[in-house]
Amino acid sequence: MIKKEQMKIVSSRAIAKDTYEMVLENHFISEKAVPGQFLHIQIGTHTLRRPISIANCNKERNEITILFKINGVGTSELATYQAGEFLDVLGPLGNGFKAEDEPQSTILLVGGGIGVPPLYYLGKTLKEKGINIVSILGFQQKENVFYEQQFQGLGETIIVTDNGSYGYKGYVTDVLDQVGLFDCYYSCGPIPMLKALTTKLEGKRGFISLEERMGCGVGACFACVLPTKDGTGYRKICKDGPVFHAEEVTI
């Protein structure tokens, strides 16, 4: 079930270059949220809402955390909102990560840039189920790195940067051989990263979270479709996704 809710901003702070962490309070949305879902946020009077992933959820405190990067007019404006103000939000939207993994299994999280946020809530939820977590997080450069400590709290965490200014130099796919065996992977990040990753990990059980420009965010407008791999159908990212089985869709 989706609702249009007012979410109170509990805090907002910069956590990396152009990157903000915002904690939002709302009972309904925090109660329902599962990892991989997102919020559709009304910013000012913009015609279209902005989709932002749920990066964490504290069900006791009725809090949702979002992490966002300034990417244009909407996110710039969002960064100016202050604690105490309210955001008009549709949510929680989309289908989350299936996360039907068994206790004791090992799963790999692979995040790139602003694809990192949804993996944190996922990792936290999996860890609570007794699953082992290994994370690879890729960023452009040192100033962009965020949430390293939080992911280390979940398990082994490898950071890579494009230019080597922090952690390993290169792409997330370059360090895959440094992690041991894993049962399933979950990933979110830019399309080229997802392409490289799913190609390298072909045959492995895996799930990816995708982005597309959206209209309604609820499945009514057909703005955010992508074709299924077999070519006979399509999926709506906002409703059927944003998380898909790596073999399900064409990216």
Binding site: T47, L48, G219, C221, A223
Partner: protein, 304 residues
């Protein structure tokens, strides 16, 4: 009590508010927000002869007080719509209007004929103006004699009232309106989107994969009002008005310009409850401006 009801060919509307085609799917998603029985009618997403997958993504972009879209008529095809979507919508106590599209005259006829199979649909909205499909669509919408031909053909094929949806991308909207009226249209729907483009600076290419898209939202309201105002004085058939409606005051502006009912499109994306909220606000807005009914306001802004 302010009377919101309005009678149009084939449509006994309890109020003049309906979601616009393409902005409300087939009602399923928005039915989770409120009871669709509240609506005057629902205009369904365009139906074509067979399933269409539409254009590549990105399909939408934001503009100043508006948006561009190039969905490209994605839909499951008319038969699937009749089988799976119409029954869902017909649970609600509202009118159903089917928006029909095609690439050829024959496809339009086929789709129109298909809707004769169900008695749950109350009217057709003949979309001759979708700017986002290359083959067909737009030629019918910009050439008066082509528009008349497809209107005539659809009128023959269907036993439902036909509202022809006009494109604003023309030099002379009055000529288009008169041509389809003469060809038998029972009403007009106006306006569809204005063709526009946005260029994405980092990639140096049109943001919408289809290059151009249709501009909708408050940005186009002055164009819609002008065209309805002009056409209202030239034809005798009723007009369903649309283009940028966001609140009950906007609805009144469309009524004054000559629309008998209105459709709300883009605004659903910002606020899923928009149609419901407008229906709640309309009575007091009408009475603030000294109208006792919707009917009374229709065309009252026209001075000669």
């Amino acid at each position: 009590m302010t009377d919101l009801a309005i009678e149009l060919p084939g449509l006994s509307l309890k109020n003049p508010i309906m979601p616009a085609s393409g902005c409300f799917g087939f009602g399923r998603e928005y039915s989770e927000f409120y009871d669709l029985s509240k609506l005057g009618a629902v205009i369904m997403k365009a139906a074509t002869g067979s399933e269409r997958f539409g254009n590549p993504t990105p399909r939408v972009a934001e503009t100043a007080s508006g948006m561009l879209n190039a969905i490209g008529l994605q839909n499951p095809g008319v038969n699937k719509i009749i089988e799976s979507e119409v029954p869902f919508l017909s649970q609600f106590d509202t009118n159903i209007i089917a928006n029909i599209a095609g690439s050829t005259l024959e496809e339009y006829e086929e789709v129109a004929r298909a809707f004769n199979k169900t008695d749950k649909v109350h009217a057709l909205e003949l979309n001759i103006s979708c700017p986002n499909v290359k083959d067909g669509g737009i030629q019918f919408g910009t050439n008066p004699s082509m528009a008349a031909r497809v209107t005539e053909a659809v009128k023959k094929a269907s036993n439902l009232p036909v509202y022809v949806k006009l494109s604003p991308n023309v030099t002379d909207i009055m000529q288009m309106a008169k041509a389809v009226e003469a060809a038998g249209a029972d009403g007009l729907s106006m306006i569809n989107t204005i063709t526009g483009m946005q260029i994405h600076l980092p990639s140096r290419r049109p943001l919408i994969a289809n290059k151009t898209g249709g501009l909708s939202g408050p940005a186009i309201k002055p164009v819609a009002i002008r065209m309805i105002y002009e056409v209202r004085q030239q034809v005798n058939i009723p007009i369903i008005g649309m283009g940028g409606i966001q609140n009950a005051e906007d609805v009144l502006e469309f009524l004054l310009a000559g629309a008998s009912a209105v459709a709300v499109g883009t605004a659903n994306f910002q606020n899923p409850f928009i149609c419901s909220e407008i229906i709640d606000e309309l009575p007091s807005v009408l009475s603030n401006y000294d109208f006792n009914s919707v009917q009374e306001a229709v065309g009252k802004g026209i001075i000669s």
